[in-house]
Structures are given as structure tokens and as C-alpha cells.
């Protein structure tokens, strides 16, 4: 009698098959990229999307028995295929994939908003308020202090005078407050978790997006005179910020009402509608200089809370979004600067570690103050470690505003975010599994789904 059960053998066989096929597909692309120099720039992007999609899906399946989230699989597949390892996807192709990122971010924000239930937020408002206050202040102050403490390890900071260095440290602290809505939604979509931890983390991460934008603008205004001796403290940026926020909220509300009306009255071709929203509306919002993430989030929130169409919208996004998310996270992996991470990993690890510890401490304090249930006190911090697009977006602004210190700071931020991006999702999934909020019902698998009727059969036969 065999010691290995039949189901496990089948699982092993399936994984071996996936690994071999993944190797085969990768080998084909490897050969083609080496054998034929590219002439038609845009066309290889198509193969790159295909491979990232396939490799991300298969790697996530291969890592699933280890308890790792799918998202980690997507990221690892991206890193392996990217410009610094196998070069199946080069820098140029990664750049060409930016429209996919735009689409994914808009879907993520729309889904995030649609997941936020007003009643649930009202119930958790005490927890949310304390968590937001404590996490923002504590992380800002203590991460700034930690940055000060590791100054000798940071190459570009050693020779900076104390004033500018304080400015840079404060910017670093503000960056540390950012979270990753995409990672949170990615994990929740995979685990289909429900419970206090899942709903608190989602509500916190989505609302903190707005808080972070305001906080970042305030920090930028304060540090400007510290870093740039010729500059003075000004409130101009707040006027722009107010325009951004109110405009985004107003547009988001309108968009949400339109989507709700469409879902109620028409409710067809949502795939095309979501694509048009992702590409078209994002472009218009960029042109108007509104925050597209906030706009879509508000739109989703309105659909969920001011109409009965929220579940419909979520179901459509889930169907459309999964494929887009794989490409989005795999592209994020491909975009990860591995040589930079190799160079800066000791200091990045220290900074990422200190942020995680401070986040943990902040969550414990906030949990005690808000009298949270035990599951939140124990695991409430786990979903707040991930960082991704928003952090990198803000660091680009820093690099643009303060070119002298901004560029090396950006490199360090990329390395630190890379670590948080890899570790954060694992922690959050672990917390959801341990707290029993991960859904036990298996996701519908392909062969178990009854086939829809073929278009012709009803008439010809």
C-alpha cells in the first residue's frame, strides 16, 4: 500500500505537469527572444502579457500548497520573467504594459469602494478612527526616528546636514503610512474571506488612501523649507489638494450614480463598459488632474450604498478583474529592480522591519483604545504591511520636487516597497487563515461548472 494518498499523488502529478508546461512555455519565449531580434515593438508586448498571465497563474498554483498567496506567485513569476532575470519581458515591454496597470488600478479602486458597506463602516467606526489616528501619527513619528537611527547605513544621507536630513526623514515617515489597496483586495479576492478582520482591513486601507494623500501634502509643505533653503512654507499645495479631493469625490459620485443606473436599466456588456471606464475614464481624470483611484473608489462606494446594484458590480469586476490582476501584479514583479534591491537590501530590510514592528505596536495600541475584538487586536496589523503602487507614485513626486535627494530616496523606497510587497500579502493571508476568516468553500473549478447552452443548439436542432 502506498504511503502517499491518491489525491496527494494527483496533486503532485498536476503540479509537476504545471511546472513542466511552465518551463516549456518559458523555454519557447526564451528561444524566440534570443533567436530573433525584435522589430515590431508593440507586438512582443502581446506575448509578454500572455506569458505573465500564464506564468502568474501557474506559479500561484504551484505555491498554493505552501500556503502562500496567489499574489506572491504573480510577483515571483514577474520577477523571474522580468528584465533582471530571464529577460523574457524587457524594460520596454514593461513600460508598454502601463495601460494594463491603469485598468487594473481602476478596477481595484472600483471593487474596493463597492466592498465598503456603510453599515459595516459605521459599526467599525470607533476601531477605524483610532486605528487611523494611531497608525498615522505613530508610523510617521517612529519611522522618521528609525530613519534617523539608521542614518550611517544610508549612503546618500551620511553627508546631508541635519536640516535637510530631517526633511528627508519626514518624507520617509509619510511614505511609510501608505498601504496597498491592491494587495488587500487581491488577497481578499483569493481567500474570499469574511469577518471582522477582512472588513476592518479593507475599510482601513481604502479610507487611509485619502488620509495619506492629505498627510503627504502637509508633510511636503512642511519639509520644503528644510530641504530647499530657498523655499518658504506655503499653503498653495493645500488649495490644489482641496481641488483634487473635492473634484474627485464629486466626479466619483456622479460616476457611481451613472453606473448604478446602467446596471439597473441596461445591465449588458459590462466587460466592455468596465474596459471603457478603466481606459477612457482614467485618461480623462488624468487630464483633469483628479485622483482616479479616489474617484473610482467613491463610484464603487456609491453603487454599493446608494443602490441595490453593488453585488452585481462586484460580480462583474471579479469576472473581469482576475485576469487583469494577474497581469498587474506580474508586471509589478517584472518592474522590480532586482540589482537595486541586491545593493540596498540591508538598509531596506531594516527600514521595512522597523515599519512592520511600528505598525504592529500601533495596531495593539489602537486595538486597546478602541476596545476591538481579540481577532483585530491580534491580527489587525497584518493587512497594513503591504505597500505598492501608491507609495511608488508618491516617491515619484518626491523625486520630481526634490531632485537632489529625491532620486537616491526613490531607489531606497523601491527596495523597501519591494520587501513589503513580497512579505505583506503573505502575512495578511496567514492572518486570515489563522483567524478562520478564509472561506472554506472551494472556488468553482472549471469542469464543475455546467456549460451554458451553445448559441446555435436551440435553433438548429
Amino acid at each position: 500500500m502506498s504511503a502517499v494518498p491518491a489525491s496527494a499523488r494527483r496533486g503532485l502529478f498536476a503540479h509537476a505537469k504545471h511546472l513542466i508546461l511552465l518551463g516549456g512555455f518559458g523555454g519557447l519565449l526564451f528561444y524566440v527572444t534570443r533567436a530573433v531580434p525584435e522589430m515590431n515593438g508593440g507586438l512582443w508586448t502581446i506575448a509578454a502579457i500572455g506569458f505573465l498571465l500564464l506564468a502568474g497563474t501557474l506559479t500561484s498554483e504551484l505555491l498554493a500548497p505552501l500556503g502562500l498567496p496567489h499574489l506572491t506567485g504573480y510577483l515571483l513569476a514577474g520577477i523571474a520573467s522580468g528584465p533582471y532575470v530571464l529577460r523574457l519581458v524587457d524594460e520596454h515591454t514593461v513600460k508598454n504594459l502601463s495601460p494594463v496597470n491603469t485598468l487594473a488600478l481602476s478596477l481595484i479602486a472600483l471593487a474596493g469602494g463597492a466592498e465598503l458597506d456603510m453599515a459595516a463602516i459605521r459599526r467599525a467606526s470607533r476601531s477605524l478612527a483610532w486605528a487611523t489616528l494611531v497608525q498615522c501619527l505613530l508610523v510617521l513619528v517612529l519611522v522618521t526616528a528609525a530613519f534617523f537611527a539608521v542614518r550611517p547605513l544610508i549612503p546618500f544621507a551620511r553627508n546631508l546636514p541635519i536640516g535637510p536630513f530631517l526633511g528627508v526623514a519626514l518624507l520617509w515617515g509619510a511614505l511609510a503610512v501608505t498601504r496597498s489597496p491592491s494587495a488587500t483586495l487581491g488577497i481578499l479576492s483569493q481567500t474570499r474571506a469574511s469577518g471582522p478582520l477582512a472588513s476592518f482591513t479593507l475599510a482601513f486601507v481604502m479610507t487611509s488612501d485619502v488620509v495619506v494623500v492629505v498627510l503627504f501634502a502637509a508633510v511636503m509643505a512642511c519639509v520644503r523649507p528644510l530641504i530647499d533653503s530657498g523655499a518658504s512654507f506655503g499653503l498653495d499645495s493645500f488649495a490644489t489638494l482641496a481641488h483634487d479631493l473635492f473634484g474627485s469625490i464629486a466626479l466619483g459620485t456622479t460616476l457611481g450614480l451613472v453606473i448604478a443606473a446602467y446596471l439597473r436599466l441596461v445591465n449588458r456588456q459590462m466587460l466592455v463598459v468596465l474596459l471603457a471606464l478603466g481606459f477612457g475614464a482614467s485618461t480623462i481624470l488624468d487630464y483633469l488632474q483628479f485622483d482616479s483611484l479616489l474617484t473610482f473608489m467613491v463610484a464603487g462606494f456609491i453603487v454599493r450604498n446608494l443602490s441595490k446594484q453593488g453585488h452585481k458590480l462586484l460580480s462583474y469586476i471579479e469576472r473581469t478583474g482576475t485576469v487583469v490582476y494577474v497581469v498587474f501584479f506580474a508586471t509589478a514583479g517584472a518592474d522590480l529592480n532586482v540589482p537595486l534591491l541586491r545593493e540596498l537590501w540591508p538598509v531596506a530590510l531594516v527600514l521595512a522591519g522597523s515599519r512592520a514592528v511600528i505598525t504592529y505596536v500601533g495596531a495593539r495600541i489602537a486595538g486597546r483604545l478602541a476596545e476591538d475584538p481579540p481577532v483585530l487586536r491580534r491580527w489587525g496589523w497584518s493587512g497594513l504591511v503591504s505597500q505598492a503602487g501608491l507609495s511608488l507614485g508618491l516617491v515619484v513626486i518626491i523625486a520630481r520636487e526634490f531632485p537632489g535627494v529625491g532620486t537616491p530616496l526613490r531607489a531606497l523606497a523601491i527596495a523597501t516597497v519591494a520587501i513589503n510587497q513580497m512579505v505583506g500579502p503573505i502575512l495578511f493571508k496567514l492572518a486570515l487563515d489563522r483567524s478562520g476568516e478564509t472561506s472554506r468553500i472551494p472556488a468553482p473549478s472549471f469542469p464543475s461548472i455546467p456549460p451554458p447552452p451553445l448559441p446555435e443548439s436551440s435553433v438548429v436542432e
Binding site: 498554483e61 456549460p451 448559441p455
Partner: protein, 405 residues
Amino acid sequence: MGLLVLSYLGSFLVGGRTVRGAGLPSGVEFVALGFVLGPQVLDLVGGDMLASFEPVVQVALGWLAFAVGLDFGYSGERRASIASIALASLGVLLTGGAVGGVTWVVVRALHVGATRTEQLLLAGGVAAACSETTRHAVRWVVQRHTARGPLAERLNEIAHADDLLPLLAVSMLFAVVPDTHVPTKIPLIDWPAITIALGLLLGAGAAMLVRSELRLEETWAVLFGVSLIAIGTTARLGLSTLTASFFAGLAVSLLSRHGKELRAMVAPTERPVLLPALLLAGAHLDFRAAPNLPWIAAAAIGARLAAKVVFGWVLAATSPSARKAGSLVGLSLASSGALAMSIGLAFALRFPGTVGDTVLVVAALSATVGEFVGPVRLRNALQRAGEIDLAGPASAGSKARRVEA
């Protein structure tokens, strides 16, 4: 955005229940719209914009070919009979041979194309584009008139089984002039074999993957992923995207245990992809592509119709129901559409200039003529064969809608 909006409006117009009330089976109205919007008329979609759309076009063509491959040899849920596949292949050989031969003669006589290779490509491309019958046309008439019977079934099966040979021809024609940036020297005859092998290998890989208990979205990821890899690698190697994607779809259909479910999954995606592709094909049309273009088009279309008539006689010889339909039963298969336009567009992208543009224009004109001839003759043939509800189209149409509901 424009493409998305058009895809949205188009899917409303020709999708679902309205398919029997509005829209043409070949979709030539979208080709015409594209032509009007394109650089030759209004110039709203200019040449630069068309060039930037090339990746979109390649994806659309590849996915359509993948869907055609997945559906090849199936009429609805039923597998087409061997006899229908054989007849379909014979029809393609007959039509393609006649069109290719006549086009070659006309092209030589009118001195179109600078070299003999160009003339070969032109004649071959026109033959490949004109030899198929669109699956949608037969379905359109059959559904609209609730046709039932052996002739409707046979014609439907033929329309679903005649895509293989034109796509094989395309891979061979692409091999005649390998892309100059491909450094590997490979004998001419091996290029089509590589194209087919690549498609089959990728499709076999996808079939093996979907055999596992994958989640639904993972199944989509596998199908999209494999299809996009096929499109990207063939484009880089200078091979025929259409052929490789078709064979990938065919391999998935043949090797997967879940072929029926996969066909049902993929079928609804065909229309939203097809409409932008047809629009872009229309925008690429250039009626000044070659001197004497009207003569080439007239000769090719005339040869096509004549070959269809002859094929109808073959059909009548093998099927009693076809005999009842009259001597022009072959013209029932005169409609061409999606695949013909795809082949034309693929030629226009691969061989820009006289060859590609001429093939595309002839494919568009052939689809337009087919639109006037095919559905009318098909309805007539089915009526004669007694397979159309005698209560009339209106009542039959409402019956069809009831069946669908």
C-alpha cells in the same frame, strides 16, 4: 476608446435577439463604416492611428482564429460528419483553385505586381480569402427562418468545416517571403510546418492545463495566455498568426476533455472582438492599391461564384435534399465574412502595398457580393428543399425567438 464604444454598440446591434432582425451576417456594414471613417474618406482614423492599432488588430485576429479553431468541425454541439468535412475541403479546393487560377491569369495579363513572387502572393492571398463560407451566414438564415432538415444541417456543417485549408494556404504564402529580421535560415517548406507545430504545441499545452481542476478564471487565464503567446511569438518570427492561433484552438478542442464547455465559454467573446477588427479592416481599405483593381476583383469574384455553382452540383450529386434545392444550391455558400476579412487584413499588415491592399479589397468586395447573393440563395434553396417553415419568415422568426427564450 472609439473601438470600445463601437464594440459596445455593435454587440448590441448584432448580438442576442436582434441578430435575426438587424445586422448583416458577414458584418460588411462595419467594414463599410471603417472605410468611411478611415484615411480614404473622412480621415477620422488616420494612417498613424491605424499603425498604432496594429497590436490590437493582431490580438483580435489571433483570438478570432483561436475561436474558429476551437469551433472547427462542430455545428453547435454536434460534431460535423466526415462527409461534411470532406465536402467542405473539396469546396475550398475548388473555389480557391478557381479564384487563384483566374486571379493569377488576370494579374499576369495586366502586369500587376513587380515580381513573379508578388503575383503569386496576390493570387494566393485572394484565393485564400475568397474560398471560405462564413459560419455566421448559414446560421443567420437558419435561425431567422427556423430551418430544419438535412440540407440546412449539411450546409451548416460545411460552413463550420471549411476554414482549415485557407489558413494552411496563408501559412505557406507567408513562408514565400520570410521576414528579413529573422536570422535563422529555414527551408521554405518548413515554415508552414513550424507554424502548425507551434500552434499545436501551444494548444496541447493549454489542453493539458485545462484538464486540471482549475478555477474558472484560471481557465480564462490559460486560454488568453496561450492565445497571446501564439500571437506574439508568430508575429516576432514572421509566421502566420491566424494559422498558429487556429491550430492552437483546434488542439485545445481535440485534446481537452472539456471541449464543449470551452466552446461555450469562448463563443460569446467572438462578436465583441470581431466588430473592431472589421472596422479596422475597413479603415485599411485602399481602392487605389493596384492599377486595374476592379478587373482583378471582378475576375476573382466571378470565379468564386462560378466555383460555388459547380460545387453545388457536387453537393447535389451526393445529397438528395441538395438536389431538391435546384441547380444554384452552391450559391447558398457564397457568403464570406469574418475569416475572409481576417485573411485580407493579415495580408495587408504583412505585405503592405499592392499585394496586401489588393487582397484586402478583394476580400471586402467578395464579402459584399456574397452578402447580396448568399443569404437570398440559401433561403431559396431551403424553401425548395422544404426545410423552411411555410407559415412565413415573420412567424418563423417569432418562433425562433420563442425557442431561444
